[in-house]
């Protein structure tokens, strides 16, 4: 038993030593590269940014694209889409049109005021309003699912207008 323990200990030490060594070597080779290191890309704060400043990650994750926004907000007790949300929804509609293999689930949410099951109905109406907008832009209805969470999943757990305005929302989940 004692021998076993010793052997395990030895193996563990070897692994630690080896892994420590390999990390050291990796960072060494990075430093001796062609100069395209993260520090040389100026004020870009993500490692995904490349030399030319062109986004190379997934278009849905590009902070400069309207596709980056996946939450839109609603006024109290209504499901009308605000003017300010239209560019966002239009961008997502275009994305879905050119990526017919992609699909989204639109979540409808409400603030906590009023009764819970009525809010489930209101949340569905918000999700449906987004879905109808997308369909009017030409997106196939088979690419869009809807679900209402009513007031059950607040984004902000607070109890005032600041929190409520963040909770009356539609969320696009790819």
């Amino acid at each position: 038993m004692k021998v076993r323990m010793f052997q395990w200990g030895l193996m563990l030490a070897a692994v630690l030593l080896f892994s420590g060594c390999s990390t050291f070597m990796k960072s060494d080779s990075d430093g001796s590269g062609d100069g395209a290191s993260v520090s040389e890309s100026g004020d870009a704060s993500t490692s995904g940014a490349s030399r030319g400043g062109i986004w190379q990650g997934h278009p849905l994750d590009n902070p400069d694209s309207p596709l980056y926004t996946k939450v839109i907000y609603f006024d109290f007790d209504v499901s009308d889409i605000r003017q300010e949300s239209i560019p966002t929804l239009r961008a997502h509609a275009e994305y879905l049109l050119s990526n017919t293999g992609a699909s989204i689930t639109v979540e409808g949410h409400c603030d906590e005021r009023g009764s819970r099951e009525y809010n489930i109905g209101l949340g569905e109406r918000r999700a449906s309003a987004i879905k109808r907008f997308m369909e009017a832009e030409g997106v196939s209805s088979s690419q869009i699912n809807t679900i209402s969470y009513g007031e059950e999943r607040p984004a902000d757990p607070g109890h005032g207008e600041a929190a409520w305005s963040m909770n009356r929302r539609g969320v696009l989940v790819y």
């Binding site: 007790d77 906590e112 005021r113 009023g114 009764s115 819970r116 099951e117 009525y118 489930i120 109905g121 209101l122 569905e124 109406r125 449906s128 809807t146 679900i147 209402s148 969470y149 009513g150 059950e152 999943r153 607070g158 109890h159």
Partner: protein, 438 residues
């Protein structure tokens, strides 16, 4: 026999100290009466005497449970135990002059005796202090696990004898709790005795659980669960844990409500494009669409005679309460006062509705008298919701938000007595009072 008395009193004191500690250890509901009623009946419920050995003494004192029940009803003002001059446990030991001195009108005394293996015999007597007469008295055989239930039954008998109205102490409540576990929520459907004791989780999930509804026999709960990221209606047997998924259509599956005979579930489905009320035969699963309107129709509730269903609809632009015959036909609008009325349900006698109403931006609990159509606001919170009548119609339990936390409150039908039921931690909501169980 006499030498036992001081010893009994000492262990009783120990129990007094130990009981709150015990209840703290359980994640139960804590009940606190926040507004009492003036003119409550003065009564004394003497702690019941245990006649067996100290080692076998039951965990709970029957007299204390009865006393707490009566106090919570708001109709009684039980004498504090520290003010009792003597502690009689049989009628022979009662000296009525002692009790007239402390101005109580009635006194309850009793004993718990060992009765076979693990069994008890509970004897109690209720007296009129001024007449010096026994009003009623029973001997009830019970078991250790049913002792609290027996105490609630005795409280029901005392309540009914002195008020003329059936008691509802031997009932249960179901409710939904939400507790943060790291960055996830743990949501649970729990049931507990109506005094908050003995909470048990019957289903839990990281996804929302909503809208519990007791079957009329009190043996099943229908509820909505979002497990697998879609809402479905389940019916679960409370005591076996067995459950079946009865509705999982596209869109909303919500707001289940049992018919009084337990054969049908009214529910909200949006499979037709928007939320409407449907009635499902629970055995055959056959569906019938009851309402058909572009508005949100939801939150159905049956009249006690099974002939009508009330529901929330925003067909006039804002949510209001409507009533439709179960056989179908035109829906009749019932509420006209205020711009927001929702989630109505009938009182057990069918004469009133209880609902959520908006008053100056505050969401409160109100009753609607179906005879004169008068709305009576019972509560004074800002985010009050989910009202549910006690099966005797004396109290309404509802959810409220106090100091940023969601908790439960109960208010008497006349709005005079209020109590709060809070969890040790986390939120508690959507309370539903069980029907009478035998």
């Amino acid at each position: 026999m006499k030498y036992l008395k001081p010893f009994n009193f000492f262990t009783f004191l120990l129990l007094l100290i130990a009981l709150p500690a015990l209840s703290l250890a359980k994640p139960g509901l804590v009940i606190e009466i926040t507004e009492g009623a003036e003119g409550a009946l003065p009564i004394a419920v003497v702690p019941f005497k245990w006649t067996g050995s100290v080692a076998q003494r039951p965990e709970h004192n029957v007299g204390s449970i009865i006393s707490n029940d009566l106090k919570r009803s708001g109709l009684f003002n039980p004498l504090e135990e520290s003010k009792m001059l003597t502690r009689p446990s049989t009628g022979d030991e009662v000296d009525f002059r002692d009790w007239r001195t402390v101005a109580v009108e009635n006194i309850v005394v009793g004993q718990v005796q060992p009765n076979g293996s693990g069994g008890y015999l509970v004897r109690f007597q209720l007296f009129d202090v001024y007449k010096g007469e026994q009003i009623t008295g029973f001997s009830v055989p019970t078991t250790a696990s049913n002792l609290r239930s027996t105490a609630h039954q005795i409280a029901d008998i005392v309540y009914e004898t002195l008020t003329g109205q059936a008691g509802a102490f031997n009932t249960r409540i179901a409710y939904v709790t939400s507790v943060n576990r790291g960055d996830k929520k743990n949501i649970a459907l729990q049931i507990a005795d109506a005094d908050g004791f003995g909470p048990e989780t019957i289903v839990e999930s990281s996804e929302p659980i909503m809208s519990p509804a007791w079957s009329p026999d009190g043996k099943k709960l229908a509820y909505v669960s979002f497990e697998n990221s879609k809402p479905s209606i389940f019916v679960q047997e409370v005591y076996t844990g067995r459950r079946v998924k009865v509705s999982s259509f596209k869109g909303i599956n919500g707001a289940p409500a049992w018919s009084p005979d337990g054969r049908y579930l009214a529910m909200t489905l949006s499979k037709g494009g928007n939320p409407d009320i449907y009635v499902m035969n629970v055995n055959t699963r056959k569906l019938r669409q009851l309402t058909s309107h572009w508005g949100i129709d939801t939150e159905p509730a049956w009249s006690p005679d099974g002939k009508f269903i009330v529901f929330t609809s925003d067909r006039p632009g804002k949510p209001q309460i409507y009533r439709v015959a179960v056989t179908g036909g035109a829906a009749e609008r019932l509420t006209f006062e205020g711009s927001y009325n929702a989630r109505a349900s009938y009182s057990p006698d069918g004469k009133n509705l209880v609902m959520v109403t908006r008053v100056n931006g505050h969401y409160r609990i109100a009753t609607l008298d179906l005879e004169n159509m008068r709305l009576n606001v019972l509560t004074n919170g800002s985010l009050d919701e989910s009202p549910s009548f006690a099966p005797n119609g004396s109290m309404v339990i509802y959810a409220t938000t106090t100091g940023g936390r969601a908790e439960l409150s109960a208010v008497s039908f006349d709005g005079r007595v209020r109590q709060r039921l809070a969890l040790q931690s986390g939120d508690v909501r959507e309370p539903v009072w069980s029907p009478y169980t035998k």
